[in-house]
């Protein structure tokens, strides 16, 4: 299938891994009721923390720990602002974004006048599993970080849905008064959630710098933090939805990388768009069989017709590289717009600080 080959899948998984890890951490934090908009800044902190630790120790494992520590520090700042000081969480997040950018750029310019570069993580083929056709190459012949992300995501899924702790966490996000009355520590759970999000974002940032390319540049996270945030919201605050969202973003990014090189848009891209929109429409229809046709569906049908026509006629269309780079964001926006209200099953107490009434 030309563009959509194994290399495309491998690229998608590699691009998805840091976004997925940061988004999973953010999901936990938001289910506990704290929205951390400063993900981008925390990831930058992790990226630089990892780079710095690796420059000092030379060990990539310690580098990742350095990234996690940096993420925890920013997470602790967020927790102090959001949980202890009870300030506006979104404003606190903006401050963390500015600080994350400023501190890392300042220290980088001061400590590393000449950029250093390291060997990034190498791929490890897992025995047996890597023999599976397609999946084996795409998922089970990746670097250690990708495996760690899978473990974390599965662990979070189990913890959220199968443990008392997870149920307590979700209760804190939905109704802190009731959770408190039931003996769950609202403050403790929220701290844990925010710190977990910080650690995840820090590790994801460390992957962006030392794990993936082996260098650090100013603002190198390049919007991944914002994408992770969007994935949590688009995924309707559920782990499954989050996986779909990250897959869409990462797939669009990988596609963009493949297509930047080639001139015209190959016809299979139109076929793929047609299939994706059609599946989206059919799934939506099956859920609400009797509901009247919505605007979104009409737009979707038009999109199917247009992409079908493009696939048949195969006109020579070139899209400049910057517009390809904007594609994941435009997709995220369209997805949010299409999902709209239905997607907003937000935790009831999200961004609302908790004050005990008897205090």
């Amino acid at each position: 299938m030309g563009v959509f080959d194994i290399a495309f899948l491998i690229a998608t998984v590699t691009i998805a891994a840091p976004i997925l890890l940061a988004a999973t951490g953010e999901l936990v934090s938001q289910r506990a009721g704290v929205m951390n908009v400063g993900l981008e800044g925390i990831m930058l902190g992790g990226a630089f923390g990892g780079y710095l630790t690796m420059a000092v120790t030379g060990s990539i494992g310690l580098g990742f720990i350095g990234g996690i520590v940096a993420g925890l520090l920013f997470g602790a700042l967020m927790a102090v602002l959001a949980i202890e000081a009870k300030v506006d969480q979104i404003v606190a997040g903006i401050a963390i974004n500015l600080l994350g950018f400023g501190v890392t750029a300042f220290l980088n310019a001061d400590l590393f006048p000449g950029a250093e570069s390291f060997t990034p993580l190498s791929r490890v083929a897992l025995p047996v599993l890597s023999q599976i056709p397609v999946l084996g190459e795409a998922i089970f012949t990746q670097n250690v970080f990708v495996y760690a992300v899978i473990v974390v995501v599965v662990g979070v899924g189990l913890a959220l849905n199968r443990t008392t702790w997870g149920i307590g966490l979700k209760a804190v996000g939905e109704n802190p008064v009731a959770a408190d009355a039931a003996g769950v520590s609202v403050r403790g759970i929220r701290w844990a959630g925010v710190l977990f999000a910080g650690a995840c974002a820090g590790a994801a940032g460390a992957y962006v710098s030392i794990g993936d390319v082996g260098v650090f540049r100013e603002a190198m996270v390049g919007g991944r933090g914002y994408l992770a945030l969007a994935a949590v919201l688009f995924g309707g605050w559920r782990l499954g939805g989050l996986l779909v969202a990250v897959a869409i973003f990462a797939g669009a990014d990988a596609l963009q990388l493949r297509l930047q090189a080639s001139g015209d848009v190959p016809p299979e891209v139109w076929v793929m768009a047609l299939v994706a929109v059609a599946v989206f429409l059919i799934v939506g229809r099956l859920r609400r069989r009797t509901a009247p046709v919505t605007t979104v569906e009409i737009i979707g049908i038009v999109a199917v017709l247009v992409s079908g026509a493009l696939a048949l006629l195969q006109p020579a269309i070139t899209v400049p590289a910057p517009l390809w780079l904007a594609l994941p964001y435009v997709l995220a926006l369209s997805a949010l717009a299409a999902g709209g209200r239905r997607r907003h099953r937000a935790p009831q107490a999200l961004t609302i600080p908790y004050t005990r009434s008897e205090a």
Binding site: I90, G102, L233, Y329, L336, A346
Partner: protein, 372 residues
């Protein structure tokens, strides 16, 4: 009696807080500069010289405060309406792009027409970009903070493409637009060389006062404050918080778009290039926070932030201090302001009443489309 004394202390705290924040920031800056081996005294002297010391530098500092203030005013009106969007960088870029397009077409138009046209184009561009956020929020129920964040990233890429494609100037293939015609450049004070002090600084008091009057004296201003204060109460008294929110977002986009036009047509380089936005979109939010959402106080805060930027560049040029020092300090200022607000609140509350209890959620009050 007691309440009066408490009131006086709260007012005192209002004035003292920004001063305390600035003092802590200066100490932090001195520590950072010392840490990289530059004497704080030398840095302070270079900073003063680079920001307020000469007429040219002073003019630059004032002129660069204008876009910051405009963004801050945009933030103030949206937060008063109870909305939180952070799409200012994208709206600045959109406003700047439309203004550039109009400006490049205005070569033969006299300045008296061309200058207002570019400003108007900026406002329209910013408001149109904000309209996407407003539409997504009001009609599709998408959180304005998320859509505006994503639209920022889209705007950056679209502008990158435009100045390499349709808007590219003929000059040796640089990724920048053609030079703006002389007639479109916003007038500057003639005595100061290099267009340093632009007349657009009159926008600062004018816009700030207009916003104060609008919020305090007009019906729309009342709607804004009511919607932001208590959405349910506003709806019961016949105000449409959704309509008010949409208009507030559009106005804030207009302010940001005007800031984009000001950055280009009153800036140092008369053409549009990558990164002309230069962090103004987010720093403007910090300006509003530092001024604690007071439009008039924001003028002073904007000048402080602009001096941080201008001074940061001067420090880099003279003493080789990384200019990202400015970003560190700006982030620190927001954190300090947030923490100091809490401190003042706790003090005020202790002297008046006990802490307010947590709201007990009964039936979901917030409609799903509202801010979460």
């Amino acid at each position: 009696m007691n309440a009066l004394r408490g009131r006086g202390r709260a007012d005192l705290a209002r004035i003292l807080t920004p001063i305390a924040v600035l003092a802590v920031t200066i100490v932090a800056a001195a520590a950072l500069v010392l840490a990289i081996g530059v004497s704080p005294a030398a840095a302070g002297a270079a900073f003063w010289q680079g920001t307020f010391g000469t007429p040219v530098n002073f003019g630059t500092t004032l002129t660069q405060a204008v876009p910051l203030l405009l963004v801050a005013l945009g933030w103030i009106i949206t937060t008063k309406a109870g909305r939180l969007h952070v799409g200012f960088p994208g709206q600045i870029i959109a406003g700047g792009t439309v203004a550039t397009t109009v400006g490049l077409l205005c070569g033969d138009v006299p300045p008296i027409v061309a200058v207002p046209l570019t400003a108007l184009a900026g406002i329209v561009g910013g408001a149109l970009w904000a309209a996407i956020t407003a539409w997504l929020w009001a009609v599709r129920g998408v959180l304005e903070i998320v859509s505006s964040l994503l639209l920022n990233l889209v705007a950056v890429q679209v502008a990158t493409w435009l100045i390499r494609g349709p808007l590219r100037g003929s000059l040796d293939g640089q990724p920048q637009s053609a030079t703006f015609p002389m007639s479109t450049l916003w007038p500057a004070v003639p005595g100061i060389p290099g267009h340093a002090l632009s007349f657009d600084i009159v926008l600062m008091p004018v816009c700030a006062v207009l916003l104060v009057l609008m919020l305090a004296r007009t019906r729309f201003g009342f709607d804004v404050r009511a919607s932001g204060g208590n959405e349910t109460a506003a709806r019961w008294s016949g105000i449409d918080p959704k309509k008010t929110g949409v208009v507030a977002i559009l106005i804030s986009g207009g302010f940001a778009g005007l800031a984009g036009a000001a950055l280009l047509f009153a800036g140092s380089a008369p053409w549009m290039s990558d990164g002309f936005e230069a962090g103004v979109g987010f720093n403007g939010i910090a300006v509003a926070l530092l001024a604690r959402n007071s439009p008039v106080g924001a003028i002073l805060a904007a000048i402080v932030f602009s001096s941080l930027n201008v001074g940061g560049t001067a420090l880099q040029a003279k003493l080789d201090v990384p200019s990202s020092l400015a970003a560190v300090l700006q982030g620190a200022v927001i954190v300090l302001v947030l923490l100091s607000t809490v401190f003042v609140h706790v003090r005020a509350k202790r002297s008046l009443t006990s802490a307010t209890p947590a709201p007990v959620p009964t039936t979901p009050v917030r409609e799903p489309a509202g801010r979460v």
